[in-house]
Amino acid sequence: MDDISIVLCGEAGQGIQTVEKLFTKIVKKAGFNVFSTKEYMSRVRGGSNSTQIRISSKPVSAYIDRIDILIPLSDESLEHVKKRISKKTLIIGEDKYIKNSKTNNKIEIPITQLAKSIGNIIYSNTIAVGLLSSICGINKKILNNTIEEYFINKKKELVKNNIKAANKGYENCLEQINKDKIKTIISPPNKKNDNIILNGVETIGLGALAGGCNFISSYPMSPSTGLLTFLSKHSKEFNIIAEQAEDEISAINMVLGAWYVGARGMVTTSGGGYALMTEGVSLAGMIESPVVIHLGQRPAPATGLPTRTEQGDLEHAIYSSHGEFPKIIFAPGTLEDGFYLTQKAFNLADKYQIPVYILTDQYFIDSFYDIPKLDIKNINNINHFIKTDKDYKRYKITKNGISPRGIPGYGNGLVCIDSDEHDEEGRITENSDIRIKMVNKRLKKLSEIKKEIIPPELYGEKDYKILVIGWGSTYHIIREAIENISRKDIAFLYFKQVYPLHNETINYLNKAEKTIIVENNATSQFSKLIRQQTGYEIKNKILQYDGSPFSVETIIKEIQKMRES
C-alpha cells in the first residue's frame, strides 16, 4: 500500500493533538507526504474526537472515509467511527478499547501500563507516536531526533522520558507485528521531503503578514480564533497590534479606525460574529474604507455546530450589510491560495477602498499538509494612501470612482469621513444630485475591480463532457475524486474568487453536456449565484450539510451515480 489512513480517536483533552503534531513531523522527516485533519466536539473534556493522518509517498491533501489503522483511546471510540471501520482496518490499542471490535485484525498494546512504567500516564501519547512509527517502518533515529527537537524547550528529564516512551511503543508494537506476522503496511519512500507542513489558518496568518497586516481586533469564535492567536503570537516581532475586542461590533469598528490612520487591519470571525459586524461592513462601504475580513464558516443558523464545517455563509457574506457597495470575496481551496489570496486581499482592499473577504471553513482551517516552501520573491505591497495637501477632499469625484485616500497626520489636509451621505469634503448632505454622484462613484469602482477578477481554474480533460464545479475548501477532495474516476470526459472547475464572478464562467458551463455542483451546504448557494449572474442553472447538485467535510469516496460515488443517470 502506498497511501494509508490512520485515525486516532479519543476524548477531548487526551492529547490527540500532540500525537498529530509530533507524528506528522516524524513521517515528513522520513520522506513521506502527509495530510491530517480533525473533527471535534464543542467541549473541553470528554466526548469523542478523531484525527485522520494520511501518509503517502505522493502528495495527499484530502479527507477520506477509509481507515487503514485505527487507534481507539477511549470506550466510545469504536462506536464513534464504526461506519468507517472495514474488515481491512487494523485496530491497535489497549485491550479494553479494542476487545469489542468484531474483526481479528487487531494488535493489543498495553499503552497505559507502559506509560505508568515510565512514571506517568501522560506519556501515553508519545507511546502512541512510537507504535505508529514502527508500523510505518520509520527509522528509530528519526523518531528520537524529532522528539528531541519537539520538546527542545522542556526539561531534560521530560525529553528523556518521552524518548523512552516512544521507544517502548515502537518495540512493543514491533514485537506484536513479528508475532502476528503483520507486515509493516507502508515503507518510507526513498526521497527527501523538503516541504513545510502548515494548516489553513497558518497560511492565512502568513498571508496577512506578507500583506502588511499590522492590526487585528477580534472576538474569539470557533473556528476563526486561530488567526487571532497566530497574529498575537507574532505581534512583537512584526509590530502588530492584536486586540481582543469586547464584541465583534467593536472589533470591526476598531479595524476601520486603524485603516483610517493608515494601518492595515483585519478581523477574523465566524457566522454569528460576522452578523454583528455587518453594520460596520456597511460603514466601510460608505466611508470607503479598506478592510480585510476572515470569515471561517461553521454550520448555522445561530450557534449551530460550533466546531464543525460548512460552506453556508456565502450568501451571508455577499448580501449582508445594508446599502449597495462593491466587495470582493475570495475562497481559498489550497494552502497556497490561502497565503497568496490573503496577501492580495490587503492590497485590493487598499486599492479599491472596499471590504475584501477570505471565506474559509473549519475543514480548511484545521487541515494540515505538506507543501513546497511558499515563494515570496514576487510579492509586493503597495500602500495606496497619499500625503494630503491643503485643499484635500477625501471624496473627490474621479473618473474611475477611486478618490485618493489621505490619512490624518500625513500632509497638510484634513481627512473627513462620514457614515451619512456626504459631499466631496466628507460633510453631511442630503442634496440629491450629490447623493446620485456619490452612489455612482462608489459603484463605479466595480468596473475597475472586474478587470482583475481571478478566473476559475480547470482541472482534468479540456474536452470535457461532464463539468464538476466547486469553490473553496472542497478543492482537494474534488480533485482527488476526479483523478480517481480517471475518465476522459470529466473536468473540475475550481473557483477561488467567488464574488464577483469571472466573465468566463458561462463559457465553461456552456461547453459541458452535464454540470454538477459540489457544495457543503443545503441550498447550493454558489449555484444560485451562478444562475443569478449568468442565467445558467446547474441541475445536478452534490450537497452535504451534516457538519462534516465531503470525503473523496462520497464525491466519487455521487459523481458516478449522476454520470449514469
Binding site: S217, A258, I379, P408, C416, S419, I428
Partner: protein
C-alpha cells in the same frame, strides 16, 4: 493659529436655536485654540445623533461613524498613531445606550483619549424618546407612563471602573466647562466629561434653569484623588455636583501598555513589512 483657525466658514448647523449644542461647539473651539492643538493633528470621532454632528462644524479631521460606535475607532486611531490628539464625542443615547459596552471597555483599556458626552437626557435626533439618562417618570410618546428604569449614572459607573479622569460640566457655563475640558484633554489616559446640555425641543423637564438650580460646583477643598469620596459625590442626586470628580494619575495608558509603543510612538502606517522574517517563519513550517 488665530481665532479663525477652527472655523469652517458659514455653516448651517442642524441644531435648534437655543440648543446647548451651540454653546458646546463654541467651548470646544476655544478650548482647542487655547491648548494650541492644530486641526491637522486632531481627530474627532463621533457616532450618530444631534450631538454627534459636532465635528462637521469646525476644522478638524473627523471620523463620523456609526451610532454608538465612536469609542472603538477612537481607541484604534490613538493606538495606531499615538501622535494624534483623539476626542470621541457624541450624545448620551449614543455613548451610554447603543455604545454602552464600549464605554465600559474603553475605560478598562485607558487609551489617551477624551470622551465628551452631550447629555441632554433624551434622544434628540429621533425626536424625543427616553435615553439611558432620562429621569424616573420622564414621559415621551413611547414611555407614555414615564420612564420606569433606573437612570444610568455615567459618573459613578466610570469611578467604579477606576476611570483615570471623570468630570461633569454644564454647557451653560462657558468658562468653567472650558477649564474642565482643558484638564480632560491634557490628562494622559481616558477622560470622560459628561456635559449637561439642555434640549429645548424634547426635554421640557431638564431645562437650562433646571440645570442651574439643580447643580453646584465641587469646591477647591474637594480632593479628586480620593476614589471613595468621588463615588459618594457621584451618587448624590438632591443636587448634582459639577467639576472634576476623580483623577487617577497612576494608570498607564493603553498605548503605553502595548509592547509596540513602549520604545517609541511610531505610527503604524510607517511600518515596513519584514519579508526576511516571514521567510524564516515559512521555512520553519509548524
Amino acid at each position: 493659529m488665530n481665532e479663525k483657525t477652527y472655523d469652517v466658514g458659514l455653516v448651517n448647523t442642524a441644531w435648534c436655536p437655543g440648543c446647548g449644542n451651540h454653546s458646546i461647539l463654541n467651548i470646544m473651539k476655544q478650548t482647542l485654540l487655547e491648548l494650541k492643538i492644530k486641526p491637522g493633528n486632531l481627530v474627532v470621532v463621533s457616532g450618530i445623533g444631534q450631538a454627534a454632528k459636532i465635528p462637521q462644524y469646525f476644522k478638524t479631521n473627523y471620523f463620523n461613524g456609526l451610532h454608538g460606535r465612536a469609542l472603538p475607532p477612537a481607541t484604534a486611531i490613538k493606538i495606531s498613531n499615538p501622535n494624534l490628539t483623539v476626542i470621541a464625542e457624541s450624545g448620551d443615547g449614543d455613548m451610554y445606550g447603543e455604545g454602552g459596552n464600549h464605554f465600559i471597555h474603553a475605560i478598562r483599556r485607558n487609551p489617551d483619549i477624551t470622551n465628551i458626552v452631550h447629555n441632554n437626557m433624551v434622544y434628540g435626533l429621533t425626536k424625543g424618546q427616553a435615553s439611558p439618562t432620562s429621569e424616573y417618570g420622564f414621559r415621551t410618546p413611547i414611555q407614555i407612563n414615564g420612564v420606569v428604569s433606573e437612570p444610568f449614572n455615567p459618573i459613578s459607573t466610570a469611578i467604579a471602573l477606576d476611570a483615570s479622569f471623570v468630570a461633569r460640566a454644564f454647557s451653560g457655563d462657558i468658562k468653567k466647562t472650558k477649564s474642565i475640558l482643558k484638564k480632560a484633554i491634557q490628562h494622559k489616559g481616558y477622560a470622560i466629561v459628561d456635559i449637561f446640555q439642555p434640549c429645548v425641543t424634547f426635554n421640557k423637564i431638564n431645562t437650562f434653569d433646571w440645570f442651574k438650580e439643580n447643580t453646584y460646583y465641587l469646591d477647591d477643598s474637594y480632593n479628586s484623588t480620593d476614589r471613595i469620596e468621588a463615588f459618594k459625590k457621584s451618587i448624590q442626586n438632591d443636587k448634582l455636583p459639577l467639576g472634576v470628580f476623580y483623577v487617577n494619575k497612576n494608570k498607564k495608558t493603553f498605548e503605553q501598555n502595548l509592547k509596540l509603543h513602549q520604545q517609541n510612538n511610531k505610527p503604524l502606517f510607517k511600518n515596513i513589512v519584514k519579508f526576511d522574517k516571514i521567510l524564516k517563519l515559512i521555512s520553519l513550517g509548524t
